[in-house]
Amino acid sequence: MKPAPFTYHAPASVDEAVALLARWGPQDGRVLAGGQSLVATMAFRVARPAHLIDINGIGELAHITIKDGVLSIGACVRHAAFERNSVPGPTGALLRKVVRNIAHYPIRTRGTFCGSVAHADPASEWCCVMAGLDGVVVLRSSRGVRRLRAEEFFQGVMATALEEDELVVAAELPLLADGTRTGFQEFSRRKGDFAIAMALVCYRLENGMMIEPRVAIGGAEAQARRIPQAEQALRGRAPGADVFAQVGAAAAAAIDPLEDINNTAAYRRSLVRALVERALESAQ
């Protein structure tokens, strides 16, 4: 399982990378960041880029910054960065809960948040986070900068609005308000495997009632998204097992589940139901 031949480029700056993409993107050029997904698909020769543009040497892409209530995650930030207390507040707490579910330790050392977002596997945890928190993907090309909301960016299974000459330079997440409770649950055959379904929930308590609800489902449909019917079932209610069960049921009913040889739509629905309930029960 050796990759097909390619020409290798290692730009030292974003400008250089963008210029390379302008030239080679339309000629089967791909960006190499963590490589934990891309190199595997290249080993199977399912992906056969003629040009690889390795952005790992671009220092300016390796940062997490917070400005004006927005968390900006550079394209080279590794999954492992979120295992530590690198992000404060409820957003950081949520990211720490999520990252534990991503693959395994050596994968998290190399794989990147933005790479996962650009790859848009339905089972990607970060895609679920982007959808759930209304994240923004920042794209650069020789034609300029585009900022796309998650729901515009994700277009289906492994499909995004990324143009062939564009580079994801950052993903942005609006910081959750202090006091926001967050929960995340996923289910896979073995821990670290691709999730069959996952649920991400957030809410704040005001006078004992849940407000600003977010319920996002990933792994179960072609792309991760917020489920308005589920959020509606949460809004203005007091937390409790009955309410959580209703929210779970609403989410399960609202999704259009993926089916594969091992997982029926019915199974994904029942998983979503259970995972939403548990995410809510565990939210803190």
Binding site: M1, K2, P3, A4, P5, F6, T7, Y8, A10, L32, G35, Q36, V39, A40, M42, A43, F44, L52, D54, N56, H104, Y105, P106, I107, T109, R110, R190, K191, G192
Partner: protein, 160 residues
Amino acid sequence: MTERRAITLSVNGKDYPVAVEPRRTLVDVIRDDCGLTGTHIGCEHGVCGSCTVLLDDEPVRACLMFAVQAEGRRIRTVEGLQQGDELHPLQQAFMRHHALQCGFCTPGFLMLAVGALEKRPDLDDEELVEMLSANLCRCTGYENIVKAVRAAATEMKARA
């Protein structure tokens, strides 16, 4: 066939100048060009962990990187674990606790454990199993690997 690049890999503190196509994976170059065959290939798609090496002290899957990406980085493989004739505590523990049978997954587990324990010597039992679940073994059923790593962790802390 694309043009070969002349790069120098630093493995276990020694420089290896090689000329490789960009598509050659790090594990293939370590094995075939540097002649260090202790790092093994079990799947070539990043699942089994047999190819685990340390890159700047972090465990990575050498089958998911290209050799050209590793220039200027410090690579450590199983061949570099012992100090002269003295085996690393993990190597000794693996032998003492029968943590290997066919030995194919062993270098990958050793490097994974070295990387993890050097950074976090105080992993508790659950974290230890979690960490070790990153790699596959088909012979031992894992129990002795967990025991060996736990014993070595204690030893490594004592020596530190």
